[in-house]
Symmetry: C2
Subunit: 153 residues, 2 copies
């Protein structure tokens, strides 16, 4: 993998992950570590909870979307620094046995005002499950190195 620079990104380019299963063990492990509510940690108690069964923590799905992107090659060796997330929506529950696909689309490109050797890449992230249901969406902004210094306006 080689590094990509800001100038290499194209508006509208997309990246799609391999289908990625999520297991009850993973849901419970993340729940115990980071979101210890019964709906995420205990299948029996979860049965009488708001989703009628065990569901993944929303933060688990967000973190998983990062994992599959990095493991899938991401933007190569480019050190992208995460700046923020906008409009994150958890749209449907994720249950053990679901198989998730993460799609990222470059939705915005601009030079950084504060870092003249960097640019800001905005990506629209969509996570779907095996039947096509969209389970989570968000917009991510990250700063990546540029090849050329921004010219003064």
């Amino acid at each position: 993998m080689s590094a990509r620079f800001f100038e290499d990104f194209q508006l509208g380019e997309t990246w799609t992950s391999a289908p990625t299963p999520i297991t009850a063990e993973e849901i419970v492990a993340f729940g115990r570590d980071f979101d210890p509510q019964p709906m995420h940690t205990d299948a029996e108690l979860a049965a009488s909870g708001p989703f009628g069964g065990l569901v993944a923590s929303g933060w688990h799905i967000a973190a998983l979307s990062m994992r599959v992107f990095v493991q899938g090659g991401g933007y190569g060796k480019t050190p992208m620094v995460g700046l923020g997330i906008d409009e994150l929506r958890w749209r449907a529950p994720v249950r053990a046995g679901d198989i998730l696909t993460v799609k990222r689309e470059v939705a915005g490109l601009r030079r950084s005002a504060s870092h003249p050797m960097h640019g800001i890449v905005r990506t629209q992230v969509t996570v779907s499950k095996q039947d096509g249901t969209v389970v989570m969406t968000f917009i991510s902004a990250g700063r990546v190195p540029a090849r050329e210094r921004m010219e003064a306006a």
Copy 2:
């Protein structure tokens, strides 16, 4: 802990966590599981990375903010269903040995249009470290049960 209902929430009420340390082991464990980039997984490689050393994944800090809230009692037994996150910003790096404090303030309260027995609670979340530097902020929206059914307008 008893359950809280939508009618029990007050605009402006705040909750502050205990000071919570974060270790290199935790940073690397989360990085390996969910954000396997050298700046999160390998102190030696991280030294030549964008932060000059190991830093926590931004998703780790987001998940940690959930963990300390739930472990600290949260909203009691109320099953809050996360709907979304707005304006998440990673404002400063978090390094091994930092001690984090999470503050949540109720910033918005409205009845749910689609669920007449529920309300929507918006909270402003601020994570700071030991010297007062704000490292992350976001606005969270969640749906909680109400005592009384919403009257038809």
